[in-house]
């Protein structure tokens, strides 16, 4: 991916090259390398998982699964296909969304509101992580600077795993509007993140 424009600096300030090196060592069964890799990326991955899943113990369970998967897939890591941080976050997001969907299937009777009116009533429940994240002060940075309507589309798609048709139903908006909002939101985010990186 053209991730070079979006170098995400890991908390420990470890250059991405070192993270790729750690993955190489992990592929050879190096547990110390894995320990360091975890220390660098667990916070970022957990932040993402927590935005999708409100329940802390469920989020912790998913985090554990993500890093177990990362350890097992280390031999298949290909630097040409993505940076280490993207490699971890893709898995974190996919796992968290899978978990959220399985929870939804179990609790279908009182979730899946058909329009925004019902969705607002649900805001205080487990089933609205976007709002939950906002309550916890997690919505900040580039996402917080989006217009509300665009932010909702991103939240519902990226943090709740809804398809565009489902988002349209949830918001009571035409599908075409949802698609346009998604594109506009993504373009704004890209510009904002590039700007924040000081290299756009």
């Amino acid at each position: 991916m053209a991730g070079s424009d979006y170098v995400v600096t890991p908390p420990a300030g470890t250059p991405p090259d070192d993270a790729a090196l750690l993955i190489t060592c992990m592929a050879q069964g190096d547990r110390e390398a894995f320990s360091r890799f975890y220390d660098i990326f667990a916070g970022t991955a957990f932040g993402l998982i927590r935005r999708v899943l409100r329940d802390p113990s469920t989020a912790e369970e998913v985090l554990q699964e993500v890093f177990w998967q990362v350890w097992q897939e280390a031999p298949n890591y290909d630097a040409r296909r993505g940076s280490p941080v993207a490699w971890v976050l893709m898995r974190a997001k996919a796992r968290a969304i899978d978990k959220l969907r399985s929870i939804r299937r179990r609790e279908r009777t009182f979730v899946m509101p058909v329009d925004e009116t019902v969705a607002r009533q649900d805001d205080a429940t487990v089933e609205n992580p976007g709002v939950a994240a906002e309550e916890r002060g997690l919505v900040h940075g580039a996402l917080a600077r989006l217009p509300h309507a665009q932010r909702r589309v991103i939240e519902l798609a990226f943090f709740e795993g809804l398809t565009q048709t489902e988002i349209a139903a949830r918001l009571g908006a035409p599908l075409g509007t949802v698609k346009t909002r998604a594109r506009l939101a993504m373009e704004r985010l890209r510009d904002a993140l590039k700007g924040a990186d000081g290299r756009g």
Binding site: M1, A2, G3, D5, Y6, V8, A20, L21, T24, C25, A27, Q28, G29, D30, R31, A33, F34, S35, Y38, A42, G43, T44, F46, G47, L48, R50, R51, L63, Q64, W68, W71, P75, A79, G82, V85, A86, K93, I97, L138, H140, G141, A142, L143, A157, F158, G161, L162, Q164, T165, I167, K179, A182, R183, A185, M186, E187, L189, R190, L193, D197
Partner: protein, 262 residues
């Protein structure tokens, strides 16, 4: 398809929210090698990763402990092999200290094996010693049990032997059971001279004495002999002890030291 449309699909695809038809259309573009679609997609994917990385939250330490434990358990179950695929070139020049770490880990592993072997050798010796000790105790227990059984048997008789002229203070007991044999215990006998030994005889009626075996006495003059059943002898009238040449004789030839009637 115009540029906005492609971007729209790319944005939805990156978000993971494209419905069936749209997803099929966009994937067809990617398969067809559409440069713009691929570029937009990777751009948006990177954007989302940047978005995801904006908020971090430290997980509780228990999660790491659990993952590391799982990894350690897997390493014990099936050690990981070196990957078939060569490492990325950019990483290669900076790997220098990892092989050293590996060598150290291997050395530690070998040391553990050596220590393990030496510990196991020590334990094997110990187990051998215990086995010998147990065999000895079992044999001793067998002897004790045989004696107790012998004494308990109503058919068992105890014959007292008194010292004769050569050893007036000598005393002996014969615990005798014809079918089972018996146990002879003597005390107060003088030490047998060199080349000589004491021999126990069983005499039935007017028959010739039958040898019941030879025995040595210790410095205090005590000796004992386990006597096996004597062939053709079911009733013994007299037990007697004589001093005979070492190894004993088929018939008594020396002086009598002890004698007792049953």
């Amino acid at each position: 398809m115009n540029r906005d449309e492609i971007r729209e699909l790319a944005a939805g695809y990156a978000l993971g929210g494209l419905d069936g038809d749209d997803r099929a259309r966009f994937e067809a573009l990617l398969r067809a090698g559409d440069q713009e679609a691929a570029a937009e997609l990777s751009d948006f994917e990177a954007t989302l990763m940047g978005l995801a990385a904006e908020s971090t939250e430290a997980p509780p330490p228990g999660v790491k402990a659990a993952v590391m434990a799982r990894v350690a358990a897997e390493a014990r179950a099936k050690p990981r092999e070196a990957p078939a695929r060569p490492a990325p070139a950019r990483a290669a020049p900076r790997r220098s200290w990892w092989p050293a770490a590996w060598a150290a880990a291997m050395a530690a592993g070998i040391a553990a094996i050596v220590v393990g072997l030496s510990v196991s050798a020590t334990y094997e010796k110990r187990v051998e010693g215990l086995a010998r000790e147990a065999a000895g105790l079992r044999a001793e227990l067998g002897r004790q049990q045989a004696m107790v059984a012998l004494i308990r048997d109503p058919a068992t008789q105890i014959v007292a032997l008194a010292g004769l002229e050569e050893a007036p203070s000598a005393r002996a007991r014969m615990i005798w059971n014809a079918p089972a044999g018996g146990l002879f215990i003597a005390a107060g006998l003088p030490a047998a001279p060199a080349g000589k030994t004491y021999q126990l005889w069983a005499i039935a009626g007017k028959n010739a004495p039958v040898s019941a075996g030879v025995f040595e006495v210790d410095a205090r003059g005590t000796g004992s002999l386990r006597v096996l059943p004597l062939a053709g002898v079911d009733k013994v009238d007299v037990f007697a002890v004589t001093l005979e040449p070492a190894g004993g004789l088929p018939a008594p030839s020396g002086k009598m030291y002890l004698a007792g009637k049953s």
